[in-house]
């Protein structure tokens, strides 16, 4: 089914970063979301937050360089930049739980059409890694999910109802996948953009709930 080209990890991160506006405080999750700090649109000033206790760091360092006492949530070394501040873990979550973080980007196993999120445990595994995901999902103003549209064997991850254990209910605002950009609204899921070469119908085919095709639906733009 997925023989067409899909966006790679870097490109998904690039598309996510287009969402960041001047002055936004943005928390980036482990893995793919963490890459987004490398793609801030030129001329924009965005403050990256990591729950380990840092605000306002810059891009990732080159491999093997950097200071292991200046890392993001995934333990990857990042560049210091002017204005950066460090604090303890309780304070980092005062910021998150208190609603001071504008955007949070994280991965997911499943998202429901109501914006419910499952990303801490695959049921077969039985042991969950909650980390900071519950706090971030329930505390940040705008939650962006960055993930592959389907599982490795082609099953939809965007579902009518979650099959996996819940991280938080009603929390997702935007889903950026390797083939589409979908907004979670009160009316339902709105398909805003598709990967080059994909049609809205093909995206619908890999998505369980009915998508509302935005009249302005267009190819994903990266610049």
């Amino acid at each position: 089914m997925q023989e067409k080209a899909t966006l790679d990890r870097q490109t998904i991160a690039l598309r996510v970063a287009k969402e960041f506006q001047d002055g936004d405080v943005v928390n980036l999750g482990i893995g793919l979301p963490g890459l987004a700090c490398n793609f801030v649109p030129a001329g924009r000033e965005v403050l990256f937050h990591a729950e380990i206790g840092v605000l306002g760091f810059g891009e990732m360092t080159a491999p093997g360089e950097g200071d292991f006492e200046l890392v993001n949530a995934g333990g990857q070394t990042v560049h210091e930049q002017p204005g950066m501040s460090c604090f303890d873990h309780a304070e980092a979550f005062v910021m998150i739980r208190g609603g001071h973080v504008d955007i949070s980007v994280m991965g997911a196993f499943q998202v429901s059409e109501k914006g419910d999120l499952a990303n801490y445990m695959v049921p077969a595994r039985e042991i969950g890694v909650i980390g900071g995901a519950m706090d971030l999902a329930s505390g940040t103003k705008k939650l962006i999910i960055a993930m592959n549209h389907t599982t490795k064997d082609g099953q939809p991850r965007i579902l009518k109802q979650l099959a996996y254990p819940v991280t938080a209910l009603n929390c997702v605002n935007l889903i950026v996948t390797d083939i589409a950009v979908i907004e979670v609204t009160d009316r339902g899921l709105v398909l805003k953009e598709v990967a080059p070469g994909w049609t809205p119908e093909e995206v619908q085919g890999l998505t369980e709930p009915k998508l509302i095709i935005d009249p302005d639906c267009h190819d994903i733009e990266l610049m």
Binding site: G23, E45, G83, C86, F87, V94, H100, G139
Partner: protein, 261 residues
Amino acid sequence: MPINKIVDSFDEAVADIEDGATIMIGGFGIVAGAPSLLLEALGRKGSKDLTMVSNVTGFGKDVWSQLGFKFAEDPDILVRNGQIKKAIATAPVSTIYQNNFERLLRAGKVELETVSQGTLAERIRMAKAGIGGMYVSVGVGTVVEEGKETKIIDGKKYILELPLKADFALIKAHKGDRWGNLVYRRTSRTFNAVMAGAATVTIAEVEEIVELGELDADAIHTPGIYVDRVVVRPQVIEAEEIEYSAEVKESYQKYMDRKGN
């Protein structure tokens, strides 16, 4: 576009504080830690029916100027201007003399909620931290318990205390930058750092604005995420001549006597 939280004047900084707003005022009691020029600007603006959250309700410019302070407004300016509807404070009156707040309170012109100091700090922090309530044992068996839910946890009695949020927080810091990062000096950190971020809009009065990057990341007390506006004190301020009333002179003498040094 670069983030720039610096505003040009104190009047601009407080321009949207409307009648009926709830405002937090930083500092402890001594005017050195108070946002004096923001208070003066809010006095000029004249917003009414304010609910004020602060440790004290103020001693007044005349008392402070006797002690040699140039930037001498404390919360008393809003009280004596009749701008306050209600105060939430830990030390609302003076034990030495009758301050303006006590005068208005006795005349039935203002309301008062007295809070224990550590509980006040923690209630403000709860608002900033998105916590819905907490249990403290401070105040059990006292007036503070009245009208509040209690709960026994692990055999000990606790009182449920709720978050205290404001529309605006007026705070004072030593240095600030265009991202709103702040550092305080010594005992002026106090309620200023606690209130930063506990209001919808936090406005910081600073002694000096520094370039982004001048404040070390490990030494910043209030990360800019909590601060919306930064305004700097002028280097030179015209010091008004103040006429001291006999009452103020007497209070001052009592204060100095009591200090014992």
